[in-house]
């Protein structure tokens, strides 16, 4: 494994983003609101463009200042997490389009897939999108240059307890 410079990544912001995505998508399913699923896709898209977690604003402006959620800053690569959000955005957009076109099973299936992957990340500490990023990196694809932090299985949350 070659040495690389890791950055400080606040996993609490990522977790907040994932939990909001899960909650809104489940709510969209229960209330049969494809518009809400499309809104989630839109926020994820904006987050991807700005290179921040889409719903990270809730953490930054509400949860963190009030001390409701503590920072969980780890030495990590932010790029795989961005890639994971882009993947989520693609799935959510495809799901929303399918719902608007009347393909409800496909649409809600894609929405639930995003819920499952976000839940695996939020509660299991395994980021499938990040694992895909590292896997593509093994083929030396352009842009996929980062390697997992030392001692960490690709996609698993790094375990260093660096606090700020």
């Amino acid at each position: 494994m070659t040495s690389q410079t890791l950055q400080k990544v606040d996993h609490s912001a990522l977790k907040t983003n994932q939990i909001i995505i899960i909650s809104l998508n489940i709510l969209a399913f229960i209330l049969n609101l494809p518009v809400l699923a499309a809104l989630v896709a839109l926020v994820m898209g904006i987050g991807s463009a700005l290179k921040v977690p889409g719903f990270g604003i809730v953490y930054k402006n509400l949860l963190k200042p009030r001390g409701w959620m503590k920072p969980d800053v780890l030495d990590d690569n932010p790029e795989p997490h961005r890639f994971a959000q882009i993947l989520g955005f693609v799935f959510m957009t495809a799901g929303s389009l399918a719902l608007f076109l009347g393909a409800t099973v496909l649409g809600w299936g894609l929405v639930w897939l995003v819920v499952a992957l976000a839940a695996l990340n939020a509660f299991g500490g395994f980021c499938v999108g990040c694992a895909v990023y590292y896997w593509l990196g093994r083929f030396q694809l352009f842009g996929f240059t980062k390697q997992p932090p030392a001692g960490t299985f690709p996609g698993m949350k790094p375990k260093a307890g660096v606090s700020v």
Binding site: I30, L31, A119, A150, G151, T152, F153, P158, G161
Partner: protein
């Protein structure tokens, strides 16, 4: 709440329960795997709880957090606990057979060599102590039941 919303709500709960069950199964499988591989570590059971600690030389949190936590637990419990440290980079076969995906990973085995807890990632001393206490509590209950004590 309309019947369709209620149906969707029940469906959502069902999907969530299924997902949680799948996650529990994966963790359970990891513990079973550890149980099946216990004799790769010792020929004879140590008759006391054992922490199997997977680490690597370049793992920073292992040095800064996990090892001090284990030292603390070892100091508190002394001879009542055995800690087995495995360098996953030297023994990748062992790490693979135990299903270790990242370091540090700690398994807590009871005196019968059964893996009872798995901690993927750093497990602080408090957490390890809680798990060990729960282990002793269960053991005490089992012993009391066998001897007919209330």
């Amino acid at each position: 709440m309309s019947s369709e919303t209620l149906l969707r709500f029940i469906l959502a709960i069902g999907i969530i329960v299924l997902g949680a069950a799948a996650y529990w199964l994966v963790n359970h499988r990891l513990l079973v795997r550890a149980k099946n591989n216990v004799f790769t570590l010792f020929k004879k059971l140590p008759d006391k709880p054992v922490i199997v600690y997977f680490t690597t030389p370049d793992c920073v949190p292992c040095k800064t957090i996990q090892r001090p936590a284990l030292d603390k637990v070892r100091t508190l419990l002394g001879e009542k606990l055995q800690v087995i440290e495995i360098d996953a980079s030297e023994r990748p076969d062992l790490a693979r057979s135990w299903g270790v995906m990242s370091v540090p990973t700690t398994f807590l085995l009871d005196a019968r060599g059964e893996a009872r807890y798995v901690n993927n990632g750093v497990a602080r001393a408090e957490k390890l102590m809680e798990q060990i206490q729960a282990l002793y509590f269960v053991n005490e209950l089992t012993t009391n039941r066998k001897s007919g004590k209330p």
